[in-house]
Symmetry: C2
Subunit: 119 residues, 2 copies
């Protein structure tokens, strides 16, 4: 494993960067909710069970700052605001695949359903 993560700091910082951007309960759910297309604030709250307006607002701001979501205001009356995932969001695909794979394996190991490490 040493070839993947050295202790020199740069690799560790990159791993921490990634975890920092994605951790928390909601960010990935929001990105997933927007995969199907742009949505308005209220549409997202309806789709993500349990998220408060305050939390969604904070998370969308974080995602915007990280270049993963854009906010577009349409000059209608009243103005309409749509949230859209960016091209940068699509770069998460291999990482999401690995998170899913490892999460599945881990649950099997923890619940004793995996014989992977049995002697």
């Amino acid at each position: 494993m040493e070839d993947v993560i050295s202790c020199n700091g740069n690799d560790l910082m990159a791993v921490k960067d990634a975890l920092h951007v994605l951790s928390g309960n909601w960010k990935l759910q929001i990105i997933i909710s927007l995969i199907g297309g742009s949505k308005r604030f209220k549409e997202i709250t309806k789709e993500i069970i349990g998220i408060s307006d305050k939390m969604l607002s904070k998370e969308l701001k974080d995602l915007e700052e990280n270049g993963l979501v854009t906010r577009t205001v349409y000059d209608t009356f009243p103005p309409k605001v749509y949230y859209t995932i960016t091209e940068h969001s699509t770069s998460l695909k291999p990482l999401l695949t690995e998170l899913r794979n490892w999460g599945k394996l881990h649950r099997q190991v923890i619940t004793g359903k995996s014989k992977l490490y049995s002697k």
Copy 2:
């Protein structure tokens, strides 16, 4: 991206599982510190700058519960305790690679050093 993460819940749960186990400031640093070989508590605190005894103790317990680290007590006088990463820890390798890759890309995008998404 829809083929990777569907909204049906199972995939999302797996992703959340993985993030839950790995998030926080210290867990991956502890695993990385143990890659070189088993270590005693004090040896780990010396290697990881800024971690308190209380925090290391909590994190090691979490890692043990998740099957990523084992704690072995040697019946010497005084007793010696060593922490070792498990085989399950090595299954993190592809995920750590992707976290590192995406973290690096993300920092480049955010700092404007990447021309990836320029029009």
